[in-house]
């Protein structure tokens, strides 16, 4: 079917049917895709750049533009971030500036961004679901009385209506819910870091940068008083090339220390399933899966992990997947390249020994 992108401009809603606490807006008046860029320590966050990947896909389908949107109080950092956003695929960038916006504050940032969105009327807003994105993203959506779909793994366009389809794994990652907001604009969606790749960087790309210098901003009510950087002794799991991951099958002191020894011998980072997190063997930031992280190591070794869809969702981008599990029926074997049916208690010491020999 051929799609006429301008047809969506005629979309009208009946204001009388809307909740009176929602400002009535005609969807046809909205155009363009916003990607909100989070700046951390003066740098554009990688997760925000990743959102340019689905944004490009949607922009092509709707035949519209991508506008990166930055907010802050440090002109130099904003300018630098704006360039990066353009190099990675945005058509233009909007910078919302006020000297008192130097430090992030969720509700204040959200209120400023919401006001700008009401004025500019983008039809889509994408936010990376970083910890801060999960804080200010739904705040913006609600202030706009817009729909927002969390943790999407894909986006598409309904070619009949021009509505964006937000695709997210519901209860049981094996099924995907297709969520739309047909009568409300902007349409908002978030995705977790590393679900999408960062688009290629091209320094020859250019784009218009619009500075919005605000005269006044809403009062700040949450003040960042202190920041302590925790020195990282290890790569975060989403950056590691080698991961050894444990589940409930190795959730005993003895077996877990074998798992750690294997990782140490291989120079790998330890990750785990949600059960391993719930049982206190690893922190949540090392959880792989739908409600943890998407990882892309060259090699992923899953030990004592059954292979629930919510877990294997996080390793769909992994290179080689190895499973060690004592149950030959465990679904993890269907989601891995090489599997050993065996007890971790026996297999891990042998594997450690063999690895030592290789060094």
């Amino acid at each position: 079917m051929s799609f006429d992108p301008s047809a969506r401009k005629k979309k009208k809603v009946d204001c009388g049917k809307l909740c009176p606490e929602w400002e009535c807006r005609q969807p046809g008046e909205f155009e363009g895709i916003w990607v909100i860029g989070e700046i951390e320590d003066g740098q554009i966050h990688e997760a925000s750049l990743q959102m340019l990947t689905p944004a490009r896909n949607i922009a092509e389908k709707l035949q519209t533009w991508i506008e990166g949107v930055l907010i802050g109080g440090d002109k130099e950092a904003l300018e630098k971030a704006a360039k990066e956003v353009i190099y990675h695929g945005a058509d233009k960038v909007r910078i919302i500036y006020h000297p008192d916006l130097k430090v992030y504050s969720a509700d204040q940032y959200a209120l400023v961004l919401s006001e700008e969105a009401k004025r500019v009327k983008p039809e889509v807003i994408f936010v990376a679901a970083t910890l801060r994105g999960r804080e200010f993203g739904p705040y913006i959506a609600n202030t706009l009385r817009a729909g927002i779909t969390a943790d999407c793994t894909n986006f598409d366009v309904d070619m009949k209506t021009g509505d964006v389809v937000m695709i997210r794994p519901p209860f049981g990652a094996i099924m995907l819910a297709h969520i739309k907001t047909p009568t409300r604009r902007p349409q908002m969606g978030t995705a977790r870091p590393n679900v999408f790749p960062i688009p290629e960087r091209d320094e020859s790309r250019t784009g218009e940068i619009t500075w919005i210098e605000l005269e006044s901003i809403p009062q700040r009510r949450a003040f960042l008083e202190e920041v302590t950087i925790i020195p990282q002794t290890e790569l975060p799991i989403e950056k590691a090339d080698y991961l050894v991951s444990g589940g409930r099958g190795v959730a005993t002191k003895e077996l877990w220390s074998l798992l750690e020894e294997l990782a140490k011998e291989m120079g790998a980072v330890v990750a785990g399933s949600r059960k391993a997190v719930d049982m206190g063997f690893i922190p949540h930031e090392k959880q792989v899966g739908q409600t943890g992280k998407t990882v892309k190591p060259k090699l992923y070794i899953a030990v004592g992990i059954s292979g629930a869809a919510q877990h294997t969702f996080g390793i769909r981008e992994a290179g080689i997947v190895v499973a060690i599990n004592k149950d030959p029926e465990a679904p993890i074997f269907k989601a891995s390249d090489y599997g050993i049916v065996g007890d971790a208690k026996e297999v891990l010491p042998l594997l450690i020994e063999e690895i030592k020999k290789l060094k």
Partner: protein, 267 residues
């Protein structure tokens, strides 16, 4: 300090059995529980009350069975509960859910702090805290782990939160909304004496939309801008699926050879 605590009544996904043949979850007959991460929020609120006194009201929007959830947190030490329950609230997305919760909080009145869990174990959007804050036009801090200090005179409270590579201390003006990081507390057990008292004193009220008087266009399905348009299957990732079953020594040798072939030995 007057605290409202939000709890959700969810199917116990831990008790959900996993069908290895189809790879899906079997939901039938699964009992419901208080969202486990909301017990971290409950513990956090109780500690504030232990230190500074005051009152905690637990609030849930859910079908009538969720009264058991409210009884559970009252058993932990929460003072009373309000269950917002009406067929008209059903089918709500997060905008419409947060609307009802915000209206309940407004109706309670004089609330200093609203405490939520980090996210639920069933749909885990982590939207509700931010959205309630937006409806009430209050500041919001997500991922709170610890109290740093409370200045009763200035009506300011400071919290520590831990992001991946840093700890941040936020000072916020009350009233405010926070979400407590999951696994950050050790929720206290339920005390039978509290539960019995709860039954005798009947501290749980049920508010239907008769009590709330909300415009039907703002609640339930009508108040929800998002709609679920369909369900598809996750595409399967192609994997080699080679499995070795037998002597563990042989198995490990077999695996090492495979990894060498693939060029994924780290050295």
């Amino acid at each position: 300090m007057k605290i409202v605590l939000g709890i959700k009544w969810v199917p116990n996904t831990q008790a959900v059995r996993f069908d290895p043949k189809t790879g899906t979850l079997i939901r039938e007959g699964v009992p419901s529980i208080v969202n486990p991460h909301d017990l971290d929020a409950t513990e956090f609120a109780l500690q504030l009350k232990d230190k500074f006194g005051g009152r905690i009201t637990a609030v849930s929007m859910a079908p009538p069975a969720a009264i058991m959830g409210l009884q559970h947190v009252i058993g932990m030490g929460v003072d009373d509960g309000i269950l917002a329950s009406d067929r008209a609230f059903a089918g709500a997305d997060t905008l419409a859910t947060s609307y009802v919760l915000a209206k309940v909080i407004e109706k309670i009145g004089g609330v200093d702090l609203v405490v939520f869990g980090q996210e639920t174990i069933d749909s885990s959007t982590a939207h509700i805290g931010a959205q309630v804050a937006s409806w009430l036009k209050l500041p919001y801090v997500y991922y709170v782990e610890k109290l740093v200090n409370y200045d009763e005179k200035k009506k300011e409270i400071a919290f520590l939160r831990k992001l991946e590579d840093r700890e941040e201390v936020y000072r916020i003006k009350l009233p405010a909304v926070i979400s407590v990081a999951m696994h950050s507390q050790k929720p206290r057990p339920v005390r039978m004496s509290y539960k019995i008292m709860a039954k005798l004193e009947n501290p749980i009220q049920i508010w239907t939309n008769k009590e709330m008087g909300l415009d039907p266009r703002c609640i339930g399905l009508k108040g929800s801008p998002t709609i679920v348009g369909g369900i598809t299957w996750t595409p399967e990732v192609p994997r080699k699926k080679e499995v070795f079953q037998g002597d563990p020594k042989e198995a490990v040798k077999w695996l090492i050879d495979k990894l060498k072939e693939e060029g994924v030995i780290p050295f």
